[in-house]
């Protein structure tokens, strides 16, 4: 195959931007085009549910720092609508098209919309994924609503609730699971998250779902009916229902893609219909669906900031020099800030069968929980104890035994492993938000 001289990157957020920079840094001198469905230059999403909602940072102050000149063409505000792999052409929603000799797919995810269309259109309904969402929700919070209802207590929902309390706004959180963060961290650490929420004054309802929303004659949302028969009145509702992968534009393209994402190999190469890796199409970021040594047979998607950057580099390296980089060795990591607590994780806590507090204590709000599967440690979450995570990272990479046989400072007396308590394995399950 000839050397690349016409690269198109579809997706102009963190993964797309870092891939473009890595290409230039790696010596690529040919044409480079970035396509983004949003009108904005690449911006950073994690602060949107944290510093932006709390009012510390304005939405327009979240643009990503540029690490290397890109010298590329930007097609912002226009989504990709189709892909023809035989013709090596990306169709755009405005009717134009882009030819490529190498393609990077970094289309990420979008917020899962409220499932009932009529209710989704009510005034005061919000999602949180984009800069525009954050600007709208921030404005709504600044208008001092009487109560905010947050549906879904994953990371994004929990952070929204935290920002509401920071602003002194009454907030109700409705979560189907037994605790906040249960799907990501399990009910043991989730139980601590529940304590944080209630201590901060959140009206937390777990094991409950919203059956319908209701509005007023002006078409503004007034509240929600819950599965336990209760009614919550609220003038702002934030639906934090997780993410949907932006793969529809790949339908029929010959590249494998679906609701779980775009499968790729350890070199970040997309797979063709017969399962063989392509040599001209690469995938990175939230949309990718890949094998990770810690996860065994299942492919996983990681909606993690660090994964987007890492895969962007791997994709760019292999695009320029096939076989020069692999994604397999990077350990997943994510963080969240909520209710004054710093949550930081390495590995795959949600793949754990058992969980154990290995440093500190839940009651003090400062602890590390380790997750084990098949007698090995596979993940760890530190709450206000992030300084120890490099050690747990080493232990996970080394396949250390679980329950651990080490002795460490601040080790709780008599701690034993407990069932991790994750609801059954969901194919393609990802972590919500953060």
């Amino acid at each position: 195959m000839s050397a690349p001289c016409d690269v198109v990157i579809v997706g102009a957020s963190l993964a797309g931007l870092r891939a473009a920079e890595a290409l230039r840094e790696g010596g690529y001198a040919g044409r480079l085009t970035l396509v983004g469905d949003e009108p904005h230059a690449p911006y950073d999403r994690p602060p949107l549910s944290k510093q932006v909602l709390s009012g510390w940072v304005r939405p327009q102050e979240t643009f990503l720092p540029r690490l290397h000149p890109i010298a590329g063409a930007w097609r912002l505000g226009v989504a990709a609508s189709g892909l023809d792999t035989a013709a090596q052409r990306v169709d755009l929603a405005d009717g134009t098209a882009l030819d490529y000799d190498r393609l990077i797919i970094a289309t990420g995810t979008r917020a899962r919309p409220w499932p009932v269309e009529a209710e989704a259109g009510l005034g005061g309904m919000h999602l949180l994924r984009t800069l525009d969402h954050a600007a709208a929700l921030t404005a709504a919070l600044e208008a001092k609503p009487s109560r905010v209802l947050v549906v879904g207590a994953g990371f994004t929902g929990s952070e929204v609730a935290s920002a509401c309390r920071d602003r002194g706004i009454e907030v109700t959180v409705v979560e189907q699971g037994s605790t906040p963060l249960a799907a990501v961290l399990g009910p043991v650490v989730g139980g601590h998250a529940a304590i944080l929420q209630r201590r901060a004054g959140v009206d937390l309802r777990c094991g409950v779902s919203v059956t319908s929303l209701f509005g007023d004659v002006q078409g503004r949302v007034r509240g929600a009916r819950l599965s336990d028969g209760n009614v919550v009145e609220a003038d702002v509702v934030v639906a934090c229902l997780g993410a949907v992968r932006n793969t529809e534009w790949l339908a029929g393209s010959g590249v494998q893609a679906g609701p779980a994402g775009v499968p790729c190999d350890a070199a970040c190469r997309a797979l063709s219909a017969d399962g063989a890796p392509t040599d001209d199409i690469f995938v990175c970021g939230d949309v990718s669906h890949f094998h990770h040594p810690l996860a065994g047979e299942r492919r996983i998607a990681l909606e993690h900031w660090g994964n987007a950057i890492n895969q962007a580099r791997v994709a760019a390296a292999n695009l320029l020099r096939p076989g020069s980089a692999t994604n397999a060795t990077a350990l997943p990591a994510f963080w969240s800030m909520q209710f004054g607590a710093n949550f930081k994780s390495v590995g795959l806590p949600s793949h754990g069968e058992q969980v154990m507090i290995v440093q500190g204590a839940l009651e003090t709000g400062r602890f590390v929980a380790a997750y084990g599967r098949g007698g090995r440690i596979v993940g760890a979450i530190a709450v206000n104890q992030a300084q120890w995570l490099p050690f747990y990272e080493q232990q996970i990479l080394a396949g250390a035994a679980f329950p651990p046989d080490w002795r460490v400072v601040d080790q709780p007396q008599g701690a034993t492993p407990q069932p991790a308590g994750f609801p059954g394995a969901t194919p393609g399950a990802a972590y919500a938000g953060a």
Partner: protein, 404 residues
Amino acid sequence: MSETLASDRPQTPMQAIMDPASRADPYPLYEQLREKPVWHEPDGSYVISRYEDVARLIRDPRLSVEPQNSPRGGQGLSFLNMDPPAHDRLRRMTMRHFGPPNDPGRVEAMTPALEAMVTSLIDAVRGQDRIDVVANVSYPFPVTVIADLLGVPREDEPRFHAWAEGIVQSQDRDPREPGRRTESAEKAFQELAGYMFDLISQRKGAPRDDMLSRLVNDDGPDGVMEPGEMISVSVLLLLAGHETTVNLISNGMLTMLRQPHLLQLLKDNPAIAPGFVEEMLRYEPPVHFTFRGALCDLDVGGETIPKGSALQLILASGSRDPRRFERADTFIADRPNNQHLGFGSGIHACFGAPLARLEGQIALKEMARRLVNPRLLQDPPPYRFNPTLRGPRALPVAIDGVLP
């Protein structure tokens, strides 16, 4: 370890490093150390000297600094010799008065006062053609800063100087029990503690604008410090605040005098001072080792270090490890990605680092700018005894004048 004993048997590199004769240039011995990842010393301790190992182990929760677990460590220096959670609580309560999030901008706000101090110290040597950088600048500057910050009267300097010398310079001198203080050091420690107790008592209920007042009158989220905790914290800050930055400034000036192009570089580009000082912290750090005890068996470099062992982590060797730093023995003022071990790392990373950085930047920048044609009169200069808190006892320099 006594010198007569040491000469009776073959020396390991670490034993040679402890020898005062090696004080002026321990770096070739560190290079010898790095040939093996782990040295098992005749005294039973394990010496770790490569960057990757030191940087990893210093953040490893399987290592303790508490005296009962760390046979070679010090004792009684407050949170420096405590493990979590006690360490975290005490350090948190102290940090509240020294930086973000509770007191952001505290160190930065000291800049004008620090500049004024250095200006007057350099003004004071006008008319001399010979100065001692240690006595004239590097000692009095940080000592005055820490005294003012804590609220210790400047005029008591001779008293706490003598106590500090007694405590720090006697470390590792007791041949019977390394790590334990000698009797004279213990006496100095008790006297300094008594002195701090009196100061703290005065501030209780009668606060002034100083850290002792804040420590004694604060009732933050972690509650109130016990009197004993307050004494040990304030003794630690006073000692650490004036036994380390002194060496940073002296070692920095010595390095510039030996490599006059560096002096010129800093003089012409004072704005590079922050990166310059970072490189100094890598190249000639004020603190050379740190001690830990193993809470369980550890694997390091293919060797098992058994539970209960003492570990000596050679920070200054790690910072010179060519596996991590290109041209590790060269001072590169704008070295990229300079994650040196000069302030340690992990939960015991230097508490005063922001202040030490600022002091080092101001002192080196001003000496480079104002001293006319400075020349080293004695190379190497005489060194202090302590191999860990390593620095010159005096740094005699000839000058042709002092610029305004």
